[in-house]
Symmetry: C2
C-alpha cells in the first residue's frame, strides 16, 4: 500500500478537508484526492460511512469539494467524502495533453487496454479497488457502508461502478451523467481510444447496457439532469436511454430520474441539488 | 449611468447568478460584479432586499459566489446578493501588478488621494454609491433594505461602510475582518500609499476608530474569527481592538463577536459560518 502524503488540511463544517497525494500502483503515477472527514472520523471515535464522488471532463479532485456545497450535509450525517482526480497526470503518454476529451482530465473511469493508454489509464481499478482499500486502511471509515456519485463523465463512472459490483455500493446517484456512452460522441471517442474498435468490449463500461443485465441486491439510483444543459440537448447524456433500459429490463434497480427545468451542466446546477443527493445517500448509509 | 454588459447567466437555487461588466465613473475603468437574483427578482414580481459582499486581498467577484455557499439561504429568504471585484484592473497604474497587497486585488475600499492611485482607486465611492445606485436602478431590489458583509479586507470594507453611513445599512457582518488597520501592517501599508502620511486621514477608514464616534440608529454587527487563522495570530486582524472600542465607547452598536476554534482564514472557514451570517442579515432585511 502506498504511503500517503498530506498536501493540505483545513477545518470546515466541524470536520477536516484534507488533500493527499500517493504513488498509485494501478496507474503507475502520482494520484491526488481530497477527503472530507467529519470530526467523528478525525478523532477516530467511530467508523463513518464513505461516499465517493467522481468528477467530470477537465475536472480534478477540487471542483466538487470547493463548489459542490456538500460538506455541511456530510457533516450533519457524519459521512466521509472522497473526491479523486479524474485521470493520471504528467505520465508522458503521447497525446495526453492535446485534447480535453482524451487523456489528462478524461480518464473516463475505464481500464484502458490500448496503446498508448494501457499502462497508466486504469481509473476503474484505481477508484474501485486501490483507492477504496487505501481509504479503508488509512481512515476511520466503515467500508461496508460505501456509496458513489458523480457528475457528467463521473456520473457515468458512478453508475458503471455500482452496476458492475452489486452489493458493494449501497446507493448511486449522478448529476447529468453520460448514460449511454456507446452511442454518444462522449463515450464512443474515448472507448475507441482506450478500449479499441470492438464494441463488445465497451459494454462493461456502459450503464445503459449494464442495467439490462444487472443481478443482485436492489440498487437505489437517483439521477438529476438540467433541462437547459447544452450537452443534454446535443444528446451526449441520454438519460432517457437509461430510463427505458431500466424499466424494460425489470432488473432490481430502483430509479428516480428527474429533469430540472432551466439548469445547465455546471456546478451552479450541481450545487443546487447537492443537498437532496446527500440526503438520498444518507438514507442508505446511515443506520 | 453606465450600461451593463451581461457576461454570463446561470440558473442556481431557484434564481440566477449573473456576471456583469460596466464602465465605472468612480474608478474610470471597467468593473465587474456578480449578482444573485432569487426568482422573485428575476421575474420582477417583487422588490427584494439586497446584501453586498466585499471580498478580501487577491480575490475578485467570483470567490464568494463560487465558494461561499450562500446561495441556498439567499434563495430561501428571497435576498439578492451583489459581489463586486476588489479593485480596478488593468488601468496601467505604475506598480499596480507588483505587490499582491497593493493595487490590483487590493483596493481596500478607500478613495485614494495619493498619486499614482487617486484617479482609479476609488472603491469606497464605487461600492457605496455608484454600484448601489446602478443595482437599484437596473434590478428588482428594494434599496431601502440593504446590508453589507465581507471577508478580511472586505470585512474591513463592510464595517467602514456601515459605520460611516448610519441608517443606510440595516446590518453588517464580517468574516475575519481587518478591524484596526491604522495599527496593523495590513492597513498601514495601504493607507500610507493610498491616503498619504497623515494618519488623521486614515481614521475614516478604520472601523475601530469609527466605532468610537458612531452616531445614529442601532447597528447590528456580527463578526466571526477563525481561532487558527495565521493572520489573526500575527495581529493583522485584531478583533479585540474593535470589541474593546465598541464596549468602552458605548455607542449604539450591538456587537456579537465569535472566535471559532480550529478554523483558518480561507473559504473553508467562511462557508462554515455562511448560513448564520445570512440568517443574521435576513432578520434585519426581511419583514
Amino acid at each position: 500500500m502506498s504511503a500517503l502524503e498530506l498536501v493540505s488540511k483545513n477545518r470546515c463544517f466541524h470536520g477536516e478537508v484534507r488533500k493527499y497525494t500517493h504513488q498509485s500502483t494501478s496507474t503507475q503515477s502520482k494520484m491526488t484526492f481530497n477527503i472530507f472527514l467529519p470530526d467523528a472520523a478525525v478523532n477516530s471515535t467511530e467508523k463513518v460511512p464513505v461516499l465517493y464522488y467522481l468528477s467530470g471532463l477537465t475536472c480534478n479532485e477540487d471542483n466538487m469539494i470547493t463548489k459542490g456545497g456538500a460538506l455541511k450535509y456530510l457533516s450533519e450525517h457524519k459521512i466521509a467524502l472522497v473526491a479523486p482526480d479524474t485521470s493520471p497526470r504528467g505520465c508522458g503518454v503521447p497525446g495526453e495533453e492535446d485534447d480535453w476529451e482524451l487523456g489528462t482530465g478524461a480518464g473516463f473511469y475505464v481500464d484502458a487496454t490500448q496503446e498508448p493508454w494501457a499502462k497508466h489509464y486504469r481509473m476503474y481499478t484505481y477508484v474501485h479497488s486501490e483507492l477504496q482499500a487505501l481509504v479503508g486502511e488509512m481512515f476511520s471509515v466503515d467500508a461496508k457502508r460505501t456509496s458513489v456519485f458523480g457528475h457528467s463523465m463521473g456520473g457515468h463512472g458512478a453508475l458503471v461502478l455500482a452496476l458492475r459490483n452489486p452489493g458493494h455500493y449501497r446507493s448511486v446517484s449522478a448529476f447529468a451523467p453520460i448514460c449511454h456512452p456507446s452511442t454518444s460522441n462522449w463515450g464512443r471517442k474515448q472507448f475507441a481510444a482506450y478500449l479499441g474498435a470492438n464494441e463488445e468490449d465497451w459494454r462493461k463500461y456502459d450503464a445503459t447496457e449494464l442495467v439490462k443485465e444487472y443481478e443482485g441486491e436492489e440498487l437505489p439510483v437517483l439521477i438529476d439532469q438540467g433541462g437547459d444543459d447544452p450537452f443534454y440537448k446535443s444528446k451526449q447524456l441520454q438519460p432517457s436511454h437509461f430510463v427505458i433500459a431500466t424499466e424494460s429490463s425489470r432488473r432490481n434497480v430502483r430509479l428516480e430520474n428527474r429533469v430540472q427545468p432551466g439548469y445547465d451542466h455546471s456546478y451552479w446546477f450541481v450545487q443546487s441539488f447537492m443537498e437532496s443527493h446527500i440526503e438520498f445517500h444518507a438514507k442508505h448509509l446511515v443506520q
